[in-house]
């Protein structure tokens, strides 16, 4: 199972900061992604695509996880050397394709 099977996601930017959001489809799915997509798991995956340090915010009331990477887009979106503009809107694929550890113990 991958994160995208049980959660939706979207990425965006402000200045040089990239932000990624995951929202789980139900409580059980939220518990799974909350345990699987830790700050360090997200950092390890995202570090292959961009610089910067990942900060995770958990918002259990919204069943959502928020990942913010200051300095991921050096110089802002118009300074990017990617093909075309706004590659960062596709960056959410990194998190959606992460595996979910469904064997993690329940609370």
């Amino acid at each position: 199972m991958r994160v995208g099977d049980i959660a939706v996601g979207r990425s965006g930017d402000k200045g040089s900061t990239l932000d990624l959001t995951l929202v789980a489809g139900d409580e059980e799915s939220y518990r799974l992604i909350e345990r699987s997509v830790t700050e360090s798991a997200a950092s390890a995956a995202l570090a292959k695509a961009m610089p910067g340090t990942v900060t995770r915010y958990a918002i259990p009331g919204l069943r959502a996880l928020k990942f913010v990477i200051v300095g991921a887009l050096p110089g802002g979106v118009y300074a990017s050397l990617h093909a075309g503009l706004h590659w960062q809107k596709a960056a959410i694929a990194v998190l959606l394709d992460l595996p979910v550890d469904a064997s993690a113990p329940k609370d």
Binding site: R10, T21, L62
Partner: protein
């Protein structure tokens, strides 16, 4: 005309970026359900060409798509008592007011047009707390205004309000402010609704993969409805689609949009209010209808955000050459390596070479496909000091057709001016706004 309530306000989103579709705004105005349609059309890529145009022609600098967008919209809005609020003024809101008045006269629409001036703070550049040093030529500096000047324009009878740089959410909340109660959370709620609506189709099923329900069809995406919201005096609201318009409004995409381009969810800073989103609740109350409540105010920020636009010398050259058929990836990799050798004088941090179809978006984070792609494109982007260097990069890509691996073709290139967007903050008291008017009898 549909009889509308005096105790709630209904606002629609007519555009979520400069080049957004024109027809959804017309549908919202024509429905008779909306007190106002707000069009968010201003990005750096719109503002900067406007700033450049204004340098040589003081009457230039408004959004060049203004006419295309408003010509079909104004008659529908006028006939249904639907106000039009937009940041189409771009780098020159006063000029936009004159252009809109002229257009309204030409197509026989009676309209009182107001413009908000004052976001341009370039003359106060030394009083701005810049977050990073400015290394190139500062082309412009624009503060994100709040809803107050728009609220004043509405109170004084404007049918159309056009601004320059204004917080996206303020274009929406301004219409609602007159009915809000005095609790600070009411403004937080109305501003949250603006934030939810400001990206048009992103809250009605665009850029969204639903879980547990059918995905939208190509025809649905082609005709996607844009969102509306009916806002109550306490700032709570229902987000919805017009009947018959394709799309999905559900709790999941509302939640995604709430957190979109937000950093700390307990402290989302807008010019009017700092909002805590962590207590927001969404509830599906009908088909494609979601109720939102629970945004909390954390006060008003003392300073306004400023975007500084810095012209950097040179260009980014962005060019590609394609390869097709069996072995396309191998030939593409050879071409990429050859290109790196040819362009080795460009510092590593100023050049990127990759394969479209393999790793051009996610780089090393891309997960390799077990089946090789049928086609790949070799892409190079390089930061170039001048036009001559950009030409060399583009020519090296074309040279691969004659001197590179077999079957290279389908070449394209673009050359982008270099632009740095620098954030800063300015004391609210230093930003003075005023309204400019054109009224048709």
């Amino acid at each position: 005309m549909v009889e509308r309530s005096r105790t709630v306000r209904t606002i629609g989103c007519g555009a979520g970026f400069a080049g957004d579709r024109v027809d959804p705004a017309v549908a919202i105005a024509a429905s008779g359900l909306a007190d106002a349609v707000a069009l968010e059309c201003l990005a750096e890529r719109t503002l900067v060409p406007g700033l450049r145009a204004r340098k040589s022609d003081p009457a230039a600098g408004a959004d060049p798509r203004l006419r295309r967008r408003l010509k079909p919209l104004l008659p529908a809005a006028g006939a249904n008592g639907c106000r039009v609020i937009s940041n189409l003024g771009a780098a020159n809101p006063a000029a936009a007011v004159r252009q809109i008045a002229a257009l309204a006269g030409e197509i026989g629409c009676k309209a009182c047009v107001a413009g908000v001036v004052g976001d341009d703070v370039l003359t106060k550049k030394d009083q701005i707390d810049w977050q990073t040093p400015i290394t190139g030529q500062l082309l412009g500096a624009h503060a994100y205004l709040g809803c107050e000047p728009i609220v004043e324009a509405i109170a004084r009878g404007a049918d159309i309000v056009v601004t320059g740089r204004t917080a996206d959410s303020a274009l929406f909340s301004a219409e609602v402010v007159p009915i809000l109660n005095n609790h600070p959370n009411a403004l937080a709620g109305a501003t949250t609704v603006g934030h939810l609506l400001e990206c048009s189709g992103q809250i009605t099923g665009g850029n969204f993969n639903p879980i547990g329900k059918a995905a939208l069809s190509a025809a649905d995406y082609a005709q996607l409805g844009f969102p509306l919201a009916t806002v109550h005096p306490d700032g709570s609201a229902e987000i919805f689609l017009l009947d018959g318009k394709p799309g999905i409004v559900d709790v999941l995409n509302c939640t995604l949009q709430l957190l979109y381009e937000v950093h700390d969810p307990s402290s989302y800073v807008t010019p009017d209010v700092i909002i805590d989103f962590t207590g927001v609740t969404f509830e599906q109350v009908g088909p494609n209808r979601v109720r939102v409540a629970g945004a909390r105010s954390r006060g008003r920020p003392a300073r306004l955000k400023v975007s500084g636009f810095v012209d950097m010398p040179g260009f980014i050259a962005d060019a590609e050459i394609g390869f097709a058929g069996i072995g396309a990836t191998h030939r593409g990799e050879l071409a990429a390596d050859a290109l790196r050798m040819r362009l080795r004088d460009i510092p590593e941090e100023d050049i990127r070479v990759d394969l479209v179809g393999v790793n051009s978006i996610l780089g090393d984070a891309a997960i390799a496909s077990s089946a090789p792609p049928a086609e790949v494109r070799v892409h190079v982007s390089a930061r170039c000091a001048d036009a001559e260097m950009a030409q060399i990069v583009e020519d090296e890509v074309i040279a691969l057709t004659l001197s590179g691996p077999a079957g290279g073709g389908s070449i394209r290139s673009e050359r982008r001016p270099r632009l740095d967007v620098v954030d800063g903050f300015i004391d609210r008291d230093l930003v003075a706004t005023e309204l400019v008017w054109e009224s048709l009898p």
